[in-house]
Subunit: 113 residues, 2 copies
């Protein structure tokens, strides 16, 4: 699986090359799904949340939720913390704020900290 370069390191000094656009493509692809946007929304509202709770909240089969969480995680839009058998996911504030407008604040991105 491809590693996503953190958003603040990706900024261009010269004409962007293909890997520059590729890097943003990965982030926007992760956002380009209504189910993943709903996950982003719930994590924005609730803060750090356990997968088992999220399963009920977004009404999704476990393997399907896991698939979508992985896409958001690989895009660096959320982070994961494992405690015992539980996994907790949380919005990656700096990444999301660096990508989305202030108008989207409280919907998909948290308030600026």
């Amino acid at each position: 699986m491809k590693t996503i370069i953190p958003i603040h390191e990706v900024k261009t000094k010269t004409t962007p090359n293909d890997s520059f656009f590729e890097s943003y493509e990965a982030r926007f692809k992760a956002l380009a799904d209504r189910k993943r946007l709903q996950i982003m929304y719930e994590l924005t509202q609730r803060g750090k949340t356990c997968v088992c709770d999220l399963c009920d909240i977004v009404d999704m089969a476990q393997s399907k939720l896991s698939y979508h969480l992985k896409i958001l995680l690989d895009a660096n839009l959320i982070t994961r913390e494992v405690i015992g058998t539980w996994s907790y996911y949380e919005i990656n504030n700096s990444e999301v704020n660096g990508l989305l407008s202030e108008e989207l604040c409280c919907i998909f991105r948290p308030t600026r900290s």
Copy 2:
């Protein structure tokens, strides 16, 4: 006693429904392609540009470019002006600024006007 939610708070106090997420899905889908991001970048840099010029600039076959422009147009991220047989495309400033962060200014979104 029922509490009336002030209109400017309705957006965040009400749980978004599927069509809300669907609407953002469409925008992010349009951005979720490196070729379309390159088109956005070039339009941001150059301003209103003719399809025939864009074809050379992004080095893309005409029908392919037309396909990608339609996706951006349908997502309301760019606008079109037809003059004779030429089509000129331009960034839709307000839409893009309402969606993307200020950090992306000058890359995919124009400076705030």
